[in-house]
Subunit: 194 residues, 2 copies
Amino acid sequence: MGILTVFENISLDGYFSGVSGDFTWAQSSSHDPEWDQFVAGNASGGGILLFGRITYQIMESYWPSPVAAKRDPVVAERINTRPKIVFSKTLDNVSWSNTQLMKADLEAEICKLKAEPDLCITVLGSGSIALQLTQAGLVDEYHFVVNPVILGSGRTLFGSIEQTMRLSLKTSRMFENGNVYLTYSTSSLKESGS
Amino acid sequence: MGILTVFENISLDGYFSGVSGDFTWAQSSSHDPEWDQFVAGNASGGGILLFGRITYQIMESYWPSPVAAKRDPVVAERINTRPKIVFSKTLDNVSWSNTQLMKADLEAEICKLKAEPDLCITVLGSGSIALQLTQAGLVDEYHFVVNPVILGSGRTLFGSIEQTMRLSLKTSRMFENGNVYLTYSTSSLKESGS
């Protein structure tokens, strides 16, 4: 079976995005070589990146650009060559390299992908996709970068969850720039059938 | 100068309480001796505990009771003897040992207490008190126990903050029961004057 991971920057008050889609608060101001290495390592991981339209368009407008090639050459090269899927009913075409546009049923397509052995699929940002996959019980792991920031308002990932979900903490890692990386699995939920 | 700390259990989606004031999600189901020791250590710390009416009444109804003495004897003994203040305009009297009821201006009273050298004051729960003190710039540290739980809805601590607040991560500690204890200071905010 494949593994579906939801990877999100979150604020201390639980938002993955500002009200108007702002992500700049998740860009650390202090230089931290260990963090840079962590980001580059993530970008070079195997598997497919999965996006909704809004996050995709933010990423597509930055990573293939000359600015990204100059500012973040390692991450840009890796993310541009990585296989990517964007789910959107309104987009007609995509220009980012190695990207497939899917308009069909999200859950059905993800179930098909997850049937492939050892395939890793990672949702980045893309709140509505993350929520749909959470509600469908298709998420295996959540990886959160808890930023040392309180936003006060914003978009939450889990606004329509009706039942409390208990996760299993797997790892915790603290960075010099104040970020804390926490990984959780949903396996205990699935084992107990809740 | 004294130090004012806000100590809160939070869910992964940033709530410190369920919609109807529920805190049961923050009671770990799995036995973890290291966690029990951490809780007992916190309870025996010096300084004053500070409450709003709602959290105070929940605590007052539990800790002095025979159930608490049987179930959590160490924490009960320590928290019952610790000096406590509850701020409330509606309460007429308090029955919990070593508790002072204050009806006067919260900010002015806290400023007076903080003028005492080396006095530690800790807000537990008490969302509206925590918010008022945050907005008044009187909080020196936030200590969060991030529970491995997604609530979907609840009460947030920072719903009326209008400006993004950036904190300084001080420590991170992971527990077997899935809780992660994160401590932050606001000192960089105060230094930069924002």
